[in-house]
Symmetry: C2
Subunit: 443 residues, 2 copies
């Protein structure tokens, strides 16, 4: 067999990249669990009928069929597809297990998803997402909109401080604020306005104004107000006064303003400089009904949003009970693949091993194995040299992998970076804390 | 939408089952890393041409196509399928990245695999495997056959001692031993004999003898020797003498006997009682060329082997370089689903949270959030009560989830199991070590 080529859109890491990914995932999971979010995993496959609801066909779903059915030309009775996000399967999981869950239900979910999109930087066909959501039964308090944003910002800030992942800027808006503002201006079809304002970054204010007046028949003055709202942005509660200054009165607007002000104030206190109210954020026309979130990574704005989400009044419903929720999704692959492939995020070694025990001769391999067992018993990752080569070659074996220490049967340990070799007891020797595990660092 | 039903063969855990799974996976990964095995993950999809090699069609591969292609009735140019094990993708990964890997290459891989098999206990359509392999370039020393078995036994023994997963018995054989023995008896087609002896457990010795004499034309005496070999089993090196007593001479037999004796001796010393030489083990006619392994869980023998593998002379080859390897695969789902669904393996709570901070009134929620932040800063998983209900209701909220401690704004903490309530400082209070994380226990 000749050497296989990578499949475009299906990134895989070399072992050192995978070490970075493992550490990042462990850090995310730890932050989520510190906040009481529990892990779930759902199956990779969902019935097509479930995936294709809400006109999601354009997400380029992958259909999955048994080979025998395909070859025989018969359709599988229950057609299945690979999930394209973690929200649709989570909604199904909540409905399926609602009798066994306690609400509000707080879960995180870190899994691969698949989309048959055209691959490009930041867009993959298989990629990893890390989601958190809080879901209520019938009702869910507004303070959870603040909570999920702060948990995510804390998680991303830890990636920044612990590993050197670039800092982020989260932009937030509130659908109630926009809808209330439009309604206050006498507009009925607020979604039509939102849809056009959403194009602001792409086509500019003049073109949006043309759409609002031409397509929706708004007056120049009303269209101008809509555009003025969209240009408001602030890292503190000052945006409230600026909206008020536009002179629009509406109860839903008040509610949206208050919720967004709470979020901005809480974020400014907890993680200063990482969150702004940005009143042009719309998050498409999805199912969001309140707070919406988008997040960029500083210096990597061209990747688009690396973490998005929002509040939905009905994540799922069985007809009698509704399940409102709020959640955010981190695009882990979108963050890591560019950083790792550019060498902007690296591991200090390619293997977990902290120590290589040298082997004098194959006949005495058992002695080396016994030393390794003693080190492992104290949590020190250790491997035994695969061959009783001359020591220079065994040291090079360690060096190629970045293993910092080589242990000799004379019970001496050599730090191969400094060359220092000292006597040591396998029952008590301990490596410096920073050498125990591979280090991960950015920049 | 009505309540969805589970998909047969696609098990999912409730949050408490997932806690068990997470702890088991973390324990496996930790053991593997202590032994210097590094993690890799491969994409879920492989080209069908790759998956369907070696007549693996019967594995019931799932074919994956873009919805747009299916609907348009056009075949995808690069037909893809879901991987049905982690060995085929690993072989491809090694070939694809051989220039970037250091050999012998030691990796573990914990991922889902998919097979369109008829679902039953112990057989799933989506399941999780945990594999370790060591792969060499051109050559791989025999001591790795001993090493991988000991690493796996150590990993499974930790699941037994730490969580109460039932103990295991690993049965091992060596293909060289069997092939050498048959050749020593003058048999040319050793695979034909192996294939029939492999049916011993299903059809019994008399029927196997009939096959050997009737189908292969062996003499009664030679067939009897083959059967005698197959009945030999021992937890120590005594099996060597019993094979010798059958009076067959062959170099390959000697080699196989020596390798198997090494393995049995090492396992008896490291994990007594967990490994036996069992000379009827064949592992089908796969690609194995040396040691073969099968593992049963005590009391759950009806599930079949929960961990299998072997030595292969050529995991992969690019024509010039061959990559021999040895590896084992743990069927994580096959172990966990029966144990968790029977309640034989449980978590002490359904959420990560160790502490619930009570909320006096919505106006003072910020105070509760501040206390929670102090606890989390010291690694204590904490959530804040979702509603300022009366305290009895907030305590019941914690109780339903198994959260052991409720914190009050008076800076008192209540252990809701004992009812004891004591003053505490959020900057210094620490829960008992056993309460920090959910406990997992068996039986």
């Amino acid at each position: 067999m000749s050497r296989p080529k990578p499949l475009s859109g299906f990134p895989e890491f070399l072992p050192e990249g995978r070490i970075v990914e493992q550490r990042v995932l462990a850090s995310l999971a730890q932050t989520f669990e510190l906040h009481g979010f529990g892990s779930i995993e759902t199956r990779a496959l969902e019935p097509m009928a479930q995936l294709a609801r809400k006109g999601e066909i354009d997400k380029e779903i992958y259909v999955v069929q048994r080979l025998q059915s395909v070859r025989a030309g018969i359709a599988d009775r229950d057609e299945l597809g690979l999930h394209f996000d973690l929200t649709v399967p989570f909604a199904r999981y909540v409905l399926e297990n609602s009798g066994h869950l306690s609400f509000p239900f707080r879960r995180y979910q870190i899994q691969k998803v698949w989309r048959g999109e055209r691959p490009q930087e930041g867009r993959y066909r298989e990629f990893l997402q890390a989601d958190i959501d809080v879901v209520g039964q019938d009702a869910l308090a507004a303070h959870h909109d603040v909570e999920v944003a702060l948990v995510i910002l804390e998680a991303l800030e830890r990636l920044h401080t612990d590993f050197g992942v670039p800092p982020v800027l989260m932009r937030v808006n509130n659908r109630k604020l926009a809808e209330g503002f439009y309604r206050g201006l006498g507009i009925d079809d607020h979604l039509a306005v939102l849809q056009r304002v959403d194009k602001l970054d792409k086509i500019g204010p003049a073109a949006v104004a043309d759409l609002l007046t031409g397509e929706l028949g708004l007056s120049d003055q009303v269209a101008a107000k809509c555009l003025e709202l969209a240009t408001i942005s602030a890292a503190d509660e000052s945006f409230v006064e600026r909206v008020r200054a536009l002179g629009v009165e509406n109860e839903l607007l008040d509610e949206g303003l208050a919720q967004l002000a709470d979020l901005v104030a809480a974020a400014a206190a907890a993680v200063p400089g990482r969150l702004v109210a940005d009143l042009k954020i719309a998050r498409g026309l999805d199912y969001y009904t309140g707070t919406v979130y988008e997040t960029e990574m500083t210096g990597f704005e061209h990747l688009g949003s690396i973490c998005s989400g929002g509040r939905y009044d009905s994540l799922a419903s069985d007809g009698r009970t509704g399940y409102p929720g709020v959640g955010l999704s981190i695009g882990v692959t979108r963050i890591l693949v560019p950083l790792i492939s550019k060498g902007a995020l690296t591991a200090s070694r390619t293997v977990p091993s902290c120590v290589l025990v040298a082997v004098d001769a194959e006949e005495t391999r058992a002695d080396a194995v016994a030393i390794a067992a003693k080190l492992r018993a104290r949590g020190i990752a250790t491997e035994v040299a695969p061959r009783a080569d001359r020591f220079g070659k065994q040291i090079r074996y360690a060096d190629r992998r970045g293993i910092p220490f080589v242990w000799f049967s004379s019970n001496e340990v050599k730090d191969i970076r400094s060359g220092e070799q000292v006597p040591a007891d396998p029952d008590s020797w301990t490596p410096p804390e920073g050498d125990r595990r591979p280090g991960v660092s950015g920049g």
